[in-house]
Every structure is written in structure tokens, then in C-alpha cells.
């Protein structure tokens, strides 16, 4: 048994040796690919969205070669710290909890208010059922309020739950909900909004200080010359800087 594992390792070793070397350092950008307008997979099957454009521009400014990879939201942080990609750029709000494990660049969006999506304007939040995606700040918020929380694995399922009446409302980032509410006459955003989280930033390994500094500088330069604001307006990601 043990011998077997070792042989396969050796195979893997020699295989990867063959294509070692070559071009310079590539930075691998990890994203979810299921959270428009931040990031999603377009008809061509490529990563697209606000963060795609932003990330490409940042890499250009920092003179890095970048490559996009998608990963399930559930395991996006463990895979970063174990080195399968170098950054998380996936609409991830900067929170204290996450900051203990990974590092964030400065935020590249204003703190995005979280909005409620519902079928009618007079939903009783405290008495009703609220849907949220598992492992998001919104899910934690709803649980903390003591409201009835219904958790789904993907954002898509939370919207479906409101549509079919399984949940009375859902809580998520406003910029994610806005296009959905505009398109579907049945659904609307409530006037009430919550300010949770400290804006979205890029996540990096704590040991990767150098890379973080590079991206930080690039974000700053985009903030300074207004290109970031233009992107925010284009993709309708809340307030500009």
C-alpha cells in the first residue's frame, strides 16, 4: 500500500518536473464564479464581471501575470492558505473573523449595504423566515438577530426560495440583488438595509506580505485616478469612492 502511494508520488514528481521552469511568476486569482455582478461565468465559459475587470487591471498595474481559477465558496479560504491559488477576489467582505486567518488588501468597494429581497413590502422580518447563503456574513447576521434562518448552499437557491415562498425574504449584498429585483416584477427590495461588513477586499495569505503590498498600491492608484469609480459605476456596485 505504502509503496504504491510512493510510486504514484514519484510519477507525479517526474511529471511536474517536465514542465517546470519557463515563464515568470504567475499569480493565481481565486474566485467563485457564481455571484454576479462581482464575478460570474459568462456565455463563453470564462470568468467575467466587476472583479474580472478589476483584477486584470490590477495585475497590469502591478506588472504581474494573472490567471483565473474558480473554487467553491465553501472551501475558498482553506484552498488559499494551502497554496492552491494566491488571492481570493470573490466579493469577500472584510471581517474580523476572516482577517484572523488571511490578510486583506484595502477595500475596493464601499461597504455594500445588505438588502432584503421579498415578494411584498410589508414582510415581518422577525416573525418570518429569512434565507441566506451558508457561511456568509448575512447568515451570521440573521442568526444573531434571532430570526428564523434558512440556509442554502448557493446564492441561486436563496433566490429560488423567496420566489416559491419557501422563505419570506432573503438577505444578501445589495448589488447582487438589484438586477434580480429589476428583472422580476414579483420581487422587490425592502427599504430597510443593513450595514454589515467592511467593504470587499482581496484576500491573501498572511505570509504573502509582498504581494499584498503590490495589490494594495495598485488599488490605491486606481482609486486615485478614478478608474475604480468608473468600474463601480459600470457594474453598479453601490457607492463610489
Amino acid at each position: 500500500m505504502k509503496k504504491l502511494i510512493l510510486t504514484t508520488t514519484a510519477l507525479a514528481l517526474s511529471a511536474s518536473m517536465a514542465f517546470a521552469g519557463g515563464h515568470g511568476k504567475t499569480v493565481r486569482m481565486g474566485t467563485e464564479g457564481a455571484y454576479p455582478p462581482y464575478n460570474f461565468i459568462n456565455d463563453k465559459g470564462e470568468v467575467d464581471g466587476f472583479e474580472r475587470e478589476l483584477g486584470d487591471e490590477l495585475c497590469k498595474r502591478a506588472q504581474l501575470t494573472c490567471e483565473w481559477v474558480t473554487n467553491e465558496w465553501d472551501s475558498i479560504i482553506p484552498n488559499l492558505v494551502s497554496g492552491n491559488y494566491d488571492t481570493i477576489i470573490a466579493g469577500m467582505s472584510i471581517t474580523a473573523e476572516r482577517d484572523e486567518v488571511i490578510d486583506f488588501t484595502q477595500n475596493y468597494t464601499q461597504p455594500d449595504p445588505s438588502a432584503y429581497l421579498a415578494k411584498s413590502a410589508d414582510v415581518d422580518l422577525a416573525g418570518g423566515v429569512l434565507a441566506a447563503q451558508t457561511g456568509t456574513i448575512q447568515a451570521a447576521f440573521v442568526a444573531q438577530q434571532g430570526w428564523t434562518l434558512l440556509e442554502f448552499a448557493t446564492p441561486e437557491e436563496t433566490v429560488a426560495a423567496v420566489r416559491n415562498g419557501e422563505a419570506d425574504a432573503l438577505l444578501a449584498d445589495k448589488s447582487f440583488l438589484k438586477p434580480i429585483a429589476e428583472e422580476d416584477a414579483e420581487l422587490m427590495l425592502l427599504a430597510r438595509e443593513e450595514l454589515i461588513g467592511g467593504g470587499v477586499g482581496m484576500g491573501l495569505r498572511e505570509s504573502d506580505g509582498e504581494l499584498r503590498a503590490k495589490f494594495d498600491a495598485a488599488i490605491q492608484s486606481m482609486k486615485d485616478d478614478g478608474t475604480l469609480n468608473a468600474l463601480i459605476v459600470k457594474w453598479e456596485i453601490g457607492e463610489t469612492f
Binding site: 473573523e97 442568526a143 434562518l149 440556509e151 448552499a153 416559491n164
Partner: protein
């Protein structure tokens, strides 16, 4: 906070008792063990009820597949094929959608959209199909002589089934059925993983393991804890089924007793 407090706070959290909020910082090993254990209650609930209800239906399905009436035989065979031929993961997904649309038509079905009832129905049908196939196989290999002997004694219809065919079928099917039971309990972890939502953070063992992996960003503690619980559960199942097996075989001479071999089960 000592571990006893944690048990008091979170021991029944999966059922909605105790502390409302899940731990959010300073995670201890004790919290993980207690909460994941609390989630195991759901796995045991799903597994046990589905197994018991499925057992009855499986017998019916096996009889149906072996029936002379071609309509009944075809229906039973298709039932088995559909549930055995498709991944449970996808069955859960479809069931959830189906129950939702049923609910819109008839409010009576509302209860099925929550995991505790809806997922139970899926697991029940699933295990009925798998066990039905196992029982069908066993039914086919009931020795002809036993049936002839029953006829000779003037046993007929129900009595023959109750006294002769059924016990022998069970005895033959038992080792494979044990495996099915183990697999059923393992399958309960899929409930909150596909389709069915978790309400107010009341989930099964995998849900909590996932929660901790998510919060601590370290999968190496919660999942092995979960694995440990399941190994224990598996041992208990093997033990219980072994006892029943002894009873089923008690009339046989020692060397002919069908051994509790852990042969490969009829698939999940």
C-alpha cells in the same frame, strides 16, 4: 467555560434547544465534538425511521417484482431501477423541487418541504428500492424444497409466506441488508447538502462539521471528528444486526449458519 457547560448549551442544539447562537470565535475541540455529536441525532433519526419504514415497503416491492401479475412486476421493477439507477444526490434535488410545486398546488404538502419530513420520504423510498432488490434476490434463492414441504403440510397463502418464505428470505438477505443499513446511515449526510435547507442552524453532523470547517478555516479537525462518530455508529449497526442475524440463524447447525460476511452491498 468547561466542557460540561458546552454540552449543556449545545448538546441538543440540532433540535433547537439550548444556546441559540452557534459559537463564533475561540472554537474549542469540545465545542466541535459536542455540536457534531448533536447533529448526529438527525443522522440517526433519518437513518432509523427510513430503515424501519423502508423494510416494510421493501418486502412489498420484492414480492411485487416476483409477482406473476406482469403489471405489478413491471411497476416494482421500474421503481427499483429508478431509485437504484440514479444518484441519491440528484434524487434529493428533484424531490425538493417536486415537493415545492406540490405545496403550491395543495397546502397539505407544506410539511414535505422541510428536511425532517421531505428528506425522510426520499431516504425511505431509496432504501425501499435498494432493500427491495436485495430481498428479491434472496426470494429467488429460497430453496424449492422448503416451499414444497410447506405445501405438503397444508400451509397455504399467507401462512406459508409468514412461516416459511419470509423468514428464509430474511435469513438469506441479512448480510447484504446489513450493508444497506450502513450505507443508508452514511447517505443521511447528504440531506442538507443538496436541496433541503437547514432551518435556524439546526442541521445534521455534516452541517456542523462544515460550519466549523468554514469558521475555523481548518478542515482537519471537524471532518475527522465526524468520521469518528460514523465509525462508532457503523460498529453499533454491525453489532445490532449481528444479534438479529444470530437469531435468524439459530435453528441451523453451527457450520451452516450464514456468516456475517461484510460482502459488498447492493450499491447505493
Amino acid at each position: 467555560m468547561s466542557c460540561w457547560d458546552t454540552i449543556a448549551d449545545y448538546g441538543l442544539r440540532s433540535l433547537g434547544y439550548g444556546e441559540r447562537l452557534l459559537p463564533r470565535s475561540d472554537f474549542t475541540l469540545c465545542q466541535q465534538v459536542v455540536l457534531i455529536g448533536s447533529g448526529m441525532l438527525w443522522n440517526i433519526y433519518f437513518g432509523t425511521l427510513a430503515l424501519i419504514a423502508g423494510f416494510v415497503m421493501a418486502t412489498a416491492v420484492a414480492m411485487g417484482k416476483a409477482a406473476r401479475n406482469p403489471v405489478i412486476a413491471k411497476i416494482s421493477a421500474w421503481f427499483i431501477f429508478i431509485f437504484r439507477g440514479s444518484p441519491l444526490f440528484i434524487q434529493f434535488f428533484f424531490a425538493y423541487f417536486l415537493f415545492l410545486s406540490l405545496k403550491n398546488a395543495v397546502p397539505f404538502f407544506t410539511v414535505l418541504t422541510s428536511a425532517w419530513a421531505g428528506a425522510l420520504v426520499v431516504l425511505f423510498l431509496n432504501t425501499a428500492a435498494y432493500s427491495g432488490e436485495i430481498f428479491y434476490g434472496a426470494l429467488q434463492s429460497v430453496p424449492k424444497g422448503e416451499a414444497e414441504a410447506a405445501d405438503a403440510y397444508g400451509f397455504g397463502g399467507w401462512k406459508k409466506f409468514r412461516k416459511i418464505t419470509w423468514p428464509t428470505m430474511l435469513r438469506l438477505a441479512w448480510p447484504a441488508y446489513t450493508n444497506e443499513a450502513i450505507f443508508l446511515f452514511h447517505a443521511t449526510t447528504l440531506v442538507f447538502f443538496s436541496g433541503f435547507p437547514a432551518q435556524s442552524q439546526r442541521g445534521d453532523a455534516l452541517y456542523y462539521a462544515n460550519y466549523f470547517a468554514d469558521k475555523t478555516f481548518n478542515p482537519f479537525v471537524p471532518y475527522p471528528v465526524l468520521a469518528g462518530y460514523f465509525i462508532l455508529l457503523t460498529l453499533v449497526i454491525i453489532g445490532l444486526f449481528g444479534l438479529i442475524n444470530r437469531r435468524l440463524n439459530r435453528h441451523l447447525p453451527q457450520e451452516r449458519r450464514s456468516r456475517m460476511q461484510m460482502r459488498m452491498p447492493v450499491l447505493r
